[in-house]
Symmetry: C3
Subunit: 126 residues, 3 copies
């Protein structure tokens, strides 16, 4: 079995961001030499996610708006008693989920950005 592990690094300029990462994943798969197998793409932080969808700016705007509706920013999360103010980021990440193993347009979804974060990419197979 062949295994290749790579880490993608992010430090978004905005608090929320949706970064298209399909090219990096394709490059990792090519580099691995795996012909038959799976790729795991997983956010290594619990206020970020990885999802699969169209790379269409209007849709990304719709997704962002919709996530804010279902998991709104709010000063009053219990989690904020720890000094954090990113309760909504945790909930948004739960909605989006934090990993995919597939081959469509892949995005890194940042819900608490402006700091260093990583995604792990693991290609396994033969």
């Amino acid at each position: 079995m062949k295994v290749l592990t790579e880490y993608l690094k992010f430090h978004t300029k905005t608090h929320r961001a949706y970064v298209h990462i399909t090219p990096q994943i394709e490059s990792a798969v090519k580099k691995s030499g795996v012909q038959e197998g799976m790729v795991l793409v997983s956010a290594m932080h619990i206020t970020a996610g990885v999802y699969v969808n169209d790379n269409e700016p209007g849709l990304i705007e719709d997704i962002d708006h919709w996530l804010e509706k279902l998991a709104p920013f709010d000063k009053n999360y219990q989690h904020h008693q720890t000094g954090e103010d990113n309760g909504d980021s945790h909930l948004k990440a739960l909605l989006i989920h934090h990993e995919v193993g597939t081959w469509q347009q892949i995005f890194y979804a940042e819900f608490d950005g402006q700091r260093d974060k990583r995604v792990i990419v693991k290609v396994m197979g033969e």
Copy 2:
């Protein structure tokens, strides 16, 4: 390592549909001869999903009603400026997620049907 890849094809008669696909997955696993491993079942389109739950008609109706509540059909998604009218289908698919790797009752969830679509089934193991 043994790997078997199969594609399931769908062309639903309705715009939204929930199709029970456990038998097809079990059949792929059997055909693969894999005794220990995993199955990836992944929708190859971003307006469809794959999920695991009970095969009970009332529950499927509840799920459909609930998805329409959380990600409603709406004429005003930004995505519709591209000429599409399926913004809600993308959001419903994000909620349901598009892949599972497991062995309960498995469903193909169509949110923008009446066209050709596929699911990939990949069995890997020994």
Copy 3:
């Protein structure tokens, strides 16, 4: 390829519960001897889920409150015509999703507890 399969058993005291299971997963990985591979952690019931997030009591309270808002307990689900009263548990589990394959803080999320349930843990790799 090495494969280790273990089952975690749960019987929560409350109807809903969030159980931190990272130590059990780490222990399974260690026992497997796998150095490079993946772990699948999957709830074997469709009214429970597995998710990854912080082990912070306030946040767990926020998550529970939020799930109840998005998928509320309600007497009138169609599914209840079967004699069940756990329609909301099914929807909450769909939101949380029922499996992860990763290495952060892992939780078993029970949405219909006070009965025997299991999680499967499968470590695969070399």
